[in-house]
Amino acid sequence: MTTEMAEPASKIELPAGVGGGGEIPTFHITLRVRRYNPEVSEEAAWEDHQLTMYGTDRVLDALHKVKWEIDGSLSFRRSCAHGICGSDAMRINGRNRLACKTLLKDLDTSKPITVEPIKGLPVEKDLIVDMEPFFQSFREVMPFLINKGHEPTKERLQSIEDRERFDDTTKCILCAACTSSCPVFWTDGQYFGPAAIVNAHRFIFDSRDDAGDMRLEILNDKEGVWRCRTTFNCSEACPRGIQVTQAIAEVKQAILGRKI
């Protein structure tokens, strides 16, 4: 029995220059990972791995290659691996990014690619940090709908314009890339941080929510929005492209508008 199958009708004719049999170009990289294991040593250290990677690979794939094929003790968080769960924020070549959204080919592969845990939070092991302080700030701004009116019998309706008002800040995935890129947070862990303010913004400017004043009062704290120095590190770090600094500025204005 011959197993010859007909070519699918949708096959696209590729010019000769594009990959032989659809093969993806490979290249060599040096992955320089910050390793820390408190059960072995109190000191963190760099560890280099020479890897052959493909043009479609991301930093996360390189980490997987190390963990699955070279050193299973390498620890990092990742869940969905597609930029939605917000588990794998790390400092790649000195900038906070999601490992699953950073293609290796977009980085300078001629030099070692450095991968470190995000700054400002206590490192537990390798690339894993203690996120508890981050989530504590998030909880403190009450990131849930508070409505004092009667429970509607159907959904709470909202105009397109009202929804648009806070659309940007609904995109947050709580990866902590913004908060851990903030130089104020690096030296003062008590600062609420950009992520908590973004998530407060999402409800403060929601026309269906009635607790905006409470959230503004919480963020009027000395560790609240006034600690922001508008360095724009957070806006630059956000993997979802949220204009974080602008959201913080809007919360500042809302507090001023309410007090004066």
Binding site: P38, E39, V40, E42, P122, E124, D130, E132, P133, Q136, P183, V184, T187, D188, G189, Q190, N220, D221, K222, E223, G224, W226, R227, R229, K252, I255, L256, K259
Partner: protein, 153 residues
């Protein structure tokens, strides 16, 4: 060897715990003052530079007599007073912010602020005194100090 505690969830290292405390609007007012005083200072400082360096003979006219003449006029007294106070408070608040941002220990932060506030207070008080008690033709022990523009005793 360090044993990792378990479970860790729910525990927050002390440096992340907000100390609470001040519930007032001080930080908001400081933030607002910074912006407003900045705008006013731009006007005051460029007005000051324009009058001193460009009007009339410009920079060549500046001497002891020029300053004495300006401070004989209440308008310039208050202009300079506003400039002194706003610049000093603006600068002090800026340095206070920097100390808050960069000092890592509470004791360091406290003492740096003590030094800062003391230095600012000395300069503000001294400057205010000079502006209002300035006498271009002082007579010391019955002797007129030199100054061509002073009326003969």
């Amino acid at each position: 060897m360090t044993a990792i505690q378990s479970p860790r969830s729910g525990k927050i290292a002390p440096q992340y715990k907000r100390s609470g405390g001040s519930k007032g609007n001080f930080e908001m007012l400081a933030w607002l003052f910074m912006r407003l005083s900045g705008v006013v200072l731009v006007v005051l400082i460029f007005g000051h530079l324009f009058v001193n360096l460009l009007v009339g003979e410009g920079i060549h006219a500046i001497d002891f007599g020029f300053v004495a003449g300006k401070w004989a006029d209440p308008f310039w007294q208050f202009w300079d007073l506003a400039m002194l106070w706003l610049a000093m408070l603006h600068g002090t608040n800026g340095v206070r912010t920097i100390i808050n941002d960069y000092a890592e220990k509470d004791a360091t932060r406290f003492w740096l602020k003590v030094v800062l506030y003391a230095a600012s207070a000395v300069i503000v008080i001294l400057g205010t005194l000079v502006i209002f008690t300035f006498n271009p033709c002082p007579v010391v022990d019955g002797v007129q100090l030199p100054g061509g523009f002073c009326p003969a005793p």
